[in-house]
Amino acid sequence: MMNLKDILSPFSAWRNLLKEPVTIKDPLTERPGAPRYRGFHKNDIEKCIGCGTCETICENEAIDLVAVANVDTKNGDSGLRPLVDYGRCCWCALCVDVCTTGSLTMSNEYTWVSNDPEDFRYIPGVDKKEWDNNDLGWKKPDYTLIPTERMDMEEMEPSEREGTFLEIVRGYSRAQAEKEADRCTECGLCVATCPAHMDIPGYIRAVREGDMEEGLRLLYETNPLPEICGRVCTHRCEEVCAVGHSGDPLAIRWLKRYIADQVPFEEYKRILGITSIEENGKKVGIIGAGPSGLSAAYYLRIRGFEVTIYEAKSKGGGMTMYGIPKYRLPMNMLESEIGFLEEIGVKFVYETRVGEDISFDEIYKKHDAVFVGIGFEKPYKINIKGEEQKGALQAISFLDDINKGKKVDIGKKVAIVGGGNVAMDAARVARRLGAEVYMLYRRRVEDMPADSEEIHGAYEEGVQIIPQTIPVEIIGEGGKVKSIQYLMAEMVPDEKGGRPKPVPIEGSEQVLEIDTLIGAIGQEADYGFLPQEYLDKIETNRGRMLVDNNNKTTLDKVYAGGDAVNKTADAISAIADGHRAADAIERMLLV
């Protein structure tokens, strides 16, 4: 088996002596890492929102989110930035791949010498490193670890909507809800942004795990009107959603609605554990059964207070009952939620306008604390010629009448003045009544304060928006509105950085023939119910009551919340006010 060839053959290796050596000639010259190399971390701290998803995915717990100088906590930014510990890091780059904003990347730098072990714990982007401007290295590849597409919500076709006030949004099925809930990273940026600080990641987890009872408990911890918020909340949480930076934000509102829809109202008492309430003997009077009043009532009642709500109208719910059209919020939802409050012992005194049917003084003296949630009930007039004529309506009262089931004759052509959510509601309701609807707005469509989905809905339903128009006169005939005259406006930028100012263009008069004009330019609070001695003590700022951190007004033992207090003018802020005031009232009276 062995032969001479086997003895000589190995000597062929000598021919390698003639080859170029393959070892590195100059050991001091650095060999750069490959363009995709997973080297030392970099972070664009301006882009980073401190959502902490990198921290969550890291299997070595090598990343900590820490506070950083010059980065402030703000809406949608925790103000924290990732600190990487190279004693633990394994350079798998999952933190980069999962980064919601794409701010975290890696350079292709891989050599680093230092005598101080502390150096190897550093905050990329904050602690300056020589590879910060190195463009090569691992970047978020073109794939996702977190699904970026939102589950579509089924809606009624725009063509079917005329003539009906049936709810447009159909709601998620279980499979849809669980799939949508799966996209959450549980970063909690939404919790900070939500005025009520709802445990959003918590109830989304409950959806994912199919535990509706836990979900409902979490909702009621901070919000006793989830059915309402699940439908009409302004969902500022979704604007800051971390997932929204690389795709569609979570449909947080629809998930809340899903939970609330799954649990029958009869089960609420058992699930929330309110089977018996121990009375504490203190009385609280609440003026106005809007979201803030109802919220305060719930949290006070479950803590044993005797709660009485005085409401001028015949039903509770405030603007959610009388202002929001039923295609957005069906009546039965509201009635059930209010019914639940009645069931746990909140007393409602309807059709009792404070200041007329009962004096404020009486309420003030009868109760240990008073909560004022009167809302913005009084609309601003457009304040132009001809507004007093028949056919010139106010959106608030128009929507109120429609929700009460009254017949309102608006004719064939309707003009809405305004561009907020109230204007959108009025316009879309008018479309449902079969009218041709024009919306006159002083600025551009992108300046409209209304929610973008409302604007989108209005367009879908055929509302014609005429932007940059300034109504100057309502022309009537025989005491009835006949047409509206308006000027076209040009937008002049504000030197001080405010909204651009619409300035009418000379000679651009237009006349629009209409049957009805609906004003929706804004509302204010009506303090007519307060006697002068109380009025003098209540401090306000531009019509809104001044309150402290506990939602207490400048008047002793009087708390306030809702639109009459905060500028955001949405239900969730009102609910948060009610909760905060309830906490403060409890501290004031019981501690």
């Binding site: 190995p10 995709r36 977190i146």
Partner: protein, 390 residues
């Protein structure tokens, strides 16, 4: 030729029943490893010797202190992904593949065609770099260190290709559940082909240096013979089984990824000694180079490389259990994965070839062998202690 035979008459002898008295205090016990250059990694052999003959060998592990499998019970599924690669350093990609394939099977995810080809490419590149290191190392065990220098250089070139494709040299962390983490960079195929041409030369050089080497043959031919009956008895797989004439190859027996579209026939021998096993693995280099060329020619130019998965942060892989296997350079490499439907794996169990090769088989093989052959025997089984001690 020079030949010397030790005087074995002075050695302790077996008793009348043919058995040694291990309590006679006449036998010597030595530890081969864990810090012995001839040991394949962090393990050690407790040898009882009589003169230079091994009477008994016991394999000891426990030097790694890792407990990966236990760790996985406390990690989310995605967090296992960066760690599994560490269960086998010289050939980490089989781990990545098995974990991803297992999760995909449990979750019912079909990976895109492009990802299948890229995974096949990476697995073959991984096999190539492992073989480039271990084949010349077989020469090292009998004092022929030169081939190792050549092999390590070429392996580094393949690692360069890994670096530009995956971002890492050793731990590639490239096959993520659902697919892979990126497409080929521009010019990758050309650069890989340049490397493969060097490997072609290397294959010939190694043949001249090692396989056609009188000393090497003298030290390996007929040494550490494994009878064919042992193959099933000890669960022997891969090239060791092929060395004994039993063709076992997961790529052929249970085709996965793109292997059913590739044409290859792994070498086989009936000699079943160290030389045969070296020759088979030397042949495997040739097969792998050919496979890499086939893959580069057949793989699609572009396409999706990752299928969508649920949110990995709280992925609850559906309840179930699965055994996934792939062919590593050492043989069948399997993961047994159990999910209880929670965020965390219930069990991820690795079944590597070394578990039987280095424990039960090696202990049996070393009886009556010469201590000078132990290192060559171990390397001829290509044992890898991390597979035993997970």
């Amino acid at each position: 030729m020079f030949h010397w035979t030790p005087d074995r008459s002075a050695f302790p002898t077996a008793g009348p029943d043919g058995k040694f008295d291990f309590d006679s205090h006449k036998l010597v016990k030595i530890w081969h490893g864990p810090n012995h250059p001839g040991v394949t990694g962090n393990m050690s052999l407790e040898l009882t010797i009589s003169g230079d003959e091994v009477l008994e060998s016991k394999t000891h592990v426990g030097y790694l202190h890792r407990g990966f499998e236990k760790l996985y019970e406390r990690r989310t599924w995605i967090q296992c992904f960066p760690t599994v690669v560490r269960m086998c350093v010289p050939e980490s990609d089989s781990n990545e593949y098995n974990l991803s394939a297992g999760i995909e099977e449990l979750a019912g995810i079909e990976i895109p065609e492009m990802a299948k080809w890229l995974r096949t490419l990476v697995l073959e590149m991984s096999r190539l770099q492992a073989l480039l290191r271990i084949v010349p190392a077989q020469g090292g065990t009998v004092g022929l260190g030169l081939g190792v220098q050549w092999g390590v250089y070429l392996r580094d070139l393949i690692l360069d290709r890994f670096e530009e494709l995956t971002g890492g040299r050793i731990y590639h962390m490239y096959m993520i559940p659902g697919g892979v983490r990126g497409l080929l960079p521009d010019g990758f195929k050309e650069r890989l082909e340049e490397n493969l041409i060097l490997v072609d030369e290397f294959v010939l050089s190694i043949k001249r240096l090692m396989l056609d080497n009188a000393v090497f043959k003298k030290r390996t031919v007929g040494i550490a013979h494994i009878p064919v009956e042992w193959i099933d008895k000890y669960g022997i797989v891969g090239f060791v089984a092929r060395g004994a004439g039993v063709k076992k190859d997961v790529r052929l027996d249970y085709p996965y990824l793109a292997y059913d579209q590739l044409d290859f026939d792994p070498a086989i021998s009936t000699d079943s000694d160290i030389y045969a096993r070296t020759w088979i693995r030397w042949n495997d280099i040739i097969t792998t180079v050919d496979l890499l060329r086939q893959i580069m020619a057949k793989m699609p130019k572009k396409g999706e490389f990752k299928a969508p998965t649920p949110n990995v942060l709280h992925w609850q892989v559906p309840k179930g259990e699965v055994y996934v296997r792939s062919e590593s350079s050492r043989g069948e490499y399997g993961f047994y994965i159990v999910s209880d439907g929670s965020k965390y794996p219930r069990r991820i169990n690795l079944r590597g070839p070394s578990y039987t090769h280095a424990v039960s088989l090696l202990e049996k093989m070393l009886v009556n062998s010469n201590i000078s052959d132990i290192a060559a025997t171990m390397v001829s089984l290509q044992t890898c202690p991390p597979e035993i001690e997970r």
